[in-house]
Subunit: 311 residues, 6 copies
């Protein structure tokens, strides 16, 4: 007797509905004509809902007084973290196991796979203190970079860019340990919440800052150095000759700044300390210290209104 029922009316009983026919057509579509089951098997996939819960638990364990959503004192913070962490890790190991099962080729025994999922989760856990240290460098970088920010707490609470970076560092650690599918789910959850799409494979140095961030895309083999800043809608993608196993995304060396809307394509290198201006389109490497800006393209004219878009 816990939930109020929510429906207004039953599906009508008219023979016209012909639900049996529709259901049979869906079955044929599912099992025969448009079967997309991986290897033909029914797998229990990692669950985005549970993974979101795991990530929130890890965030609470990393930053308990800011993201723990519970009133904490000096005395009980440690108790809260220990429980939040063990709870999240238990769930995570199970999700990692599901991901391994899904991608399995069938040669590994079930028991072994479960042990492997636990070992991966354990290795991930051991990295958490290091991950926290790098995240704090990111938060401090954001505080330095944005004059609107009044405290680091404000950045943790109110900056989607910070959320995206936290999620990415967790996803990247899992991806490197082999938990590919779970890592991808995490990056998609970040994408949904922030509009920032960072592939778990991307390697990013410390003190990284994304301003505003909506529309940022960072590809699988991108490499980003320390102290790099990106604004919204920056794209770091592959060019067209994309071969899966090769590096196909840009390298940004330390201290690079990229302004809003800039697009950097292919395995090019942006040298240390370079600044890439807004809306710039860059498909060649540039040496350290470069400042690249868009040509002055604006034109004052009272002319042809047909150039203006509608909605």
């Amino acid at each position: 007797m816990a939930k109020i029922e929510t429906l207004k009316r039953p599906a009508p009983a008219r023979s016209g509905w012909d639900l049996d026919r529709i259901l049979e057509e869906l079955r044929v579509s599912r099992e025969v004509t448009n079967n997309i089951r991986h290897g033909g098997h029914v797998h229990e996939l990692p669950s985005p809902d549970i993974i979101l819960n795991v990530i929130e638990g890890l965030c609470a364990a990393l930053f308990p007084t800011h993201l723990g959503q519970a009133p904490l004192s000096r005395e009980n913070t440690g108790y809260f973290v220990s429980n939040a962490l063990t709870t999240a890790l238990g769930r995570l190991a199970d999700q990692v196991h599901r991901g391994l099962k899904f991608n399995a080729d069938g040669n590994e025994p079930q028991g072994l796979m479960k042990s492997r999922a636990e070992a991966m989760t354990q290795d991930f856990a051991a990295q958490l203190p290091t991950i926290r240290a790098v995240l704090v460098s990111d938060l401090k970088a954001a505080y330095q970079a944005d004059p609107s920010a009044n405290s680091i707490a404000e950045i943790l609470l109110c900056y989607r860019g910070a959320t995206a970076v936290i999620y990415h560092r967790i996803a990247h650690a899992l991806d490197r340990l082999g938990a590919r599918l779970v890592a991808r789910v995490i990056s998609d959850l970040a994408h949904a919440s922030t509009g920032i799409d960072i592939h778990p494979g991307a390697r990013i140095g410390e003190s990284f800052f994304i301003g505003h961030g909506t529309g940022v895309v960072i590809g699988e083999t991108a490499v980003i150095g320390n102290n790099v800043q990106l604004s919204q809608a920056v794209t770091l993608e592959a060019d067209r000759d994309k071969v899966k196993s090769l590096p196909r995304h840009p390298i940004l060396e330390d201290d690079v700044i990229v302004y809003a809307g800039a697009t950097i394509l292919g395995p090019v290198t942006v040298g240390k300390g370079s600044v890439i201006g807004g809306n710039v389109w860059l498909i060649e490497s540039v040496p350290p210290g470069s400042i690249i800006t868009q040509a002055k393209t604006q034109a004052d004219c009272s002319g042809p209104s047909e150039l203006l878009p509608g909605s």
Copy 2:
């Protein structure tokens, strides 16, 4: 005794609050000075919450082992689908009915309107197997197009672009059947979740793929052929001379590829197999096989830092 109370403290009782006056001013604003009620009546609008629930139910019915969020076996999948589908359709018919009532001119009897809502839902249901087939073509196209993807399951679970396309195909079917307001709510739910804003009226062929997708806008009368690929922040909008009832958005023929940030405006046609480069601004039709790229505008210069944006 079901919910823990969540408030800390009551609104203060000081006479200074003067809530009666504020409430009276809001009433006057609502009923007199800023009355925005449709036709002056109080209507029960379609509910975004329930419609989201319906869409999740339809997604579960279409792709039960991937989006059903329940452990399924070969044996019970059919049972799960049959219940998820009938539950979702019952709720959908009611929402469609609400939408019709809202837009009604008052000449149609209530009973008739309800029957019409049911008939529309029934027609929609009959299209679901076809919709599923087209969606599978979309998933396969995504798998072909993106070297980062390791399986079709990964695309269903982790690609916001795929979510946007699923929602759109459902919304479009409802829009064509006359369930306009419900269809618009669905497109807005997709917009909120994916950053991709496709008007339900847009007609899109099969094997459609949106990469990353944040910032994509596709207008009401746009027409898109088969095997088309769009990247993030692509705009397909009307130009300025927008007359509601006329086609005012672009036509993309089969096999067109549009890269990130490109803007295509007005009732222009992009010929079959054309490629539109990143950030291109296109307001004229181009023949089949065209390759349109932005002029080389980047300039290597160590010059005027005043061109660089701040934050």
Copy 3:
């Protein structure tokens, strides 16, 4: 006995987990090496979850028949509004209090601070009828501007741009009253839900419309007149010489229209009635009546495919 347990398996008990060591390292990181506590104290921060609840309550009180999510009649609408409003205001006062405590320098007595939070909330409440009037001007402007819109109800239900503007006008009022941190949380909630990032400090006139909106960024000291329209991905940001306390963002006078992807940087003024075209990059003031468009940069060529991005 209210919630079904959701975990599959315990965290393994192998000594290899070494959770005690990880927890100790996290504690050291939290308290010593990477301590980010504001002033070294444990504060109870404003809660994004509760603030979201407050905002939804305020929206329901402002537009009860559209956003109230409950079936209302002429008779009970007033009752619903009075309760929704007092509930939301009570919670808001507490959140404002938390924000003040967080930013406190320690010289203000606790009791005084609480009274101040209540007074600020009370002043905010008194502005709600005015805020509603301005919001109705925004909704009407959207209805005028977008030929796809069939009713004002559709705009309230289905336009992320409208959501962003509602949230902003609430956040701005709180920001001006001194509730800085709560205002920033509200703007971040809007950013997460709409992809539109408006700093609470930005001053915006009436009849304001944002079309589609994904990727729009409006900075802290921006000033926008009446009857202004922005499309998606428009940036109004500071240029590089950003000093926190000075105006560093653009001024848009009345009746300005800015199309998708345009970037306006620094404390420049766009004169009354000007039109800024799509993707334009503007870093200088323009007089009233200007029409600024991007240079024609598209080039029809069947040439170098290396200019095209991959994904």
Copy 4:
């Protein structure tokens, strides 16, 4: 993405399950061999969950500061009550309508039945101030009767007997207005929560008190005067010659006290001011002022242990 999935494993896929056969047998049982549908039709029954919600809303409206579960001040109590009441009454009218439909003989038009349900709910609402006055007399009687009680608030919060009386007075009012099935659901909800089973038809005077209450049963045609007190496990039931339409349960006149475990059967009258002792078995009327006690049956004996029960 709101609920964590809760299942561990799918129903096995072995052919041995033979679910199709079981489902078919259940269908035959449901539709043919053991069909218990009322009149052969599928009706939407009143929902105990929604009715529980309605009752909690009515309790909050009647005693807002005690049962409202929200922090209230003098100023906002009225707002809270107005919304709680209108919300509860709207839901109640719908449940009453369902009950009428279920019991309908098919001769009344649907529209008329709905109007009748609303009129009944309206009449019920008009009685609420009177019901509240009687309930306050009950609370005061409990406070007088029980030396353990420290305040009336304690009785409202902590006495199952008080809960049972509140539910009954609501159920009885609805029963008299013709909302039979809804009234019965309410009495069953009270039974589940308190162990006290009062048929909605029982007529009970003011200042009524039930101490502890577990096991109390009061039948459909029982009549109880003012200032009556019952202890736990008191039974007021029909004797064997039970004819549905005739009074078949006891009458207790004013000021009667009945102690724990007493059983009073049939249409007997217990005269004003009588006291019925614990475990008494009464099947005859007694005049005013009677004091009835069980015969002294205890025997001090060190004898036959076979008389003692085990468990």
Copy 5:
């Protein structure tokens, strides 16, 4: 961002709390001085919450239009039942498995135990049509026995006695198949909801009715024939010489009626068609057709008030 935080204040940080000491004492109590772990191992016990969910699912599958809590039509009832049943059975098999693991002696391999749990659940599922038939006989018996009942639907919705019997028949079937611990949890859930405590081992014939029911206790080896009626507070228990493996509870033959408060103890037999009156204390067998009533013990007297209980 799903749950509103509910706490008012943190546990105080005063050193006086000394939580570390209390936690250490609890650990010693748990692991050393008062260790109650079964076999010293940490087992994952069956979960009452999940089992309650399973039972509600089974009830919905058995009586979908009455207990399904969803609007159903002739067409979709079958779909609903198939999903409710498979969902419930999947969860049940897992709970049965947990119960087996808990009681295991360690000699059975894990894999085998899981298969056994599934086989038991499968056998249980095959009995459901038969269980439904017997339950319908119980409902009809209740309708016959109680002149207050207006329909069988009212009995299913509003009679705690019916709830207890449904739960018992499910628990008994599981108990016989060997799922002891799960069966006991079910009987305890019934006890909590109805005040009726029937041990899963009790064997009960068809057309069984319990009126009101609060306080009824039926022991493990009790045997009850067909067409038996019990009132509230009837006890069928063992006498003192209780040896676990032997029958130690009463046998009630067909057509027996037992009135409220009667106590029948030990392995006695109540012959077919006997009637046991209210509050009777019976420790010897009685032949068929017996009518047993309490001696007339009530005494009209205006005497000793010290015989009357207080509260």
Copy 6:
């Protein structure tokens, strides 16, 4: 967008509802004619919902592997307990504070009262290891007394009597520390869940067992020794001359057994090792070793059916 709206229809808008009048009458009843506010003030009462949550947290902390409802291992049990305990104690201190405020005479400063509530909670916490030890004695006593029990885990999971005893020992400790109102709420929650009503003031020795338990009532000043067993429907109450501050309930010395339905009234003493039979009515003290049984009152007779109750 988290909750599905649940209402079917608005409260009708007919003027006949006249809600303003009803609301005004309720206000007058609340504030004038039937004002039951304690001291005329609006107090925030302890919340049964939060207290239930606290109790479940304490139960989880005391018996984590049985009542923790989470999968635990040897390694993480300590972490789970530490968090569950600190969370529960923080909430408890706040509820105790509310209770103190409610009962305050107005002379104690607010700050002091809060410190007092914390000190009481702290003292309570220090007793938890001792409470756990006594509860384990109770569980072992139950296991010894009931041949149906197969394990101590079964008793913790499936015995309402055990639940009642756990709740009581917590409530009693709080009552002795002065948290009266909170303690009473706990005893009422136990009453609702188990049908067993033990006043928090009752003093009970170790190794206490209540079998089945429905209908048991134990009064405020009752005193119960070690190794006592009660069956269902046992009453230990005051006799009529009840003066609040004096002992008015029975004393049961060590090793007493009381069978179902027995009633013991007034400040009588039942000597060590006595056995009180089922349904016995006892209002005088009995010496140690007494065996008290009901007189043999059953009569085999085929006689007067009018003695049998109906329903």
